[in-house]
Symmetry: C2
Subunit: 137 residues, 2 copies
């Protein structure tokens, strides 16, 4: 089952400028950065109130974030929910007609296993499910 909202991802064309907007302008704390080669993205994390904003930028101008930026420019990209049983939740959602962008969960940031649902399955919202390592190791 879903336990919390892990993050809200924002696709940004300029990571340094975006960090300045959210930290200097809006006053959020920047707590970390991580490159995720499996997703071709560079990320920056700004926690707020039980969740965090995750700025995502394409590494080397490639991958799904680059395509999003080409089409729309920067903006809200996806919601990521934490789950304590990713296989169970995927099976349950598939039974309700949800479609996923991969057959099964794969490695994501922070050692999590993650999977994305197709936006058409959730009112146009790209939804990521993520299970942290402690819960499945």
């Amino acid at each position: 089952m879903i336990t919390r909202l892990d993050h809200i991802a924002v696709a940004v064309p300029d990571l340094q400028r975006a960090i300045a907007r959210f930290s200097e302008d809006l006053g959020l704390a920047l707590t970390g950065r991580e490159d995720v080669p499996t997703e071709s993205t560079s990320t920056a994390f700004l926690p707020i109130a039980g969740t965090r904003i995750e700025l995502v930028h394409p590494m080397g101008g490639e991958g799904p974030i680059a395509k999003f930026l080409e089409k729309r420019g920067g903006g809200l990209h996806h919601l990521c929910f934490s789950t304590d049983d990713i296989e169970g939740d995927v099976a349950k959602l598939k039974a309700k007609g949800w479609q996923f962008l991969s057959e099964s969960p794969k490695p994501g940031a922070h050692g999590c296993r993650v999977i994305f649902a197709h936006p058409r399955s959730c009112e146009g919202v790209l939804v990521e499910l993520s299970q942290p390592p402690a819960a499945h190791e």
Copy 2:
């Protein structure tokens, strides 16, 4: 200053179906609904981990949400941050070059005063600032 992430707004073409997706499918609790005539929207709230997802649907097929749906279909619409000093924050952000969609804050849902910044001011993200009534009355 910004104190928390009040909500993540999702524009939806079918409010009942969207409520089913987020409550029955994803397991979030639906805690309320409110019509906001000043914004021509019907809303539904689903709290999660210190913030909430707010489903927004155009009342009578009019207003800014209707335009968003025409252009993009449903999807992530805006982020709303709570502030304890909306005038101060707007002044500070204007000094940093941010542009706003109205001259000054106006009445929003739950008795708050709210203002929207132009997406170009925050990497393509439509940002709402909201000050709850207790903090300014």
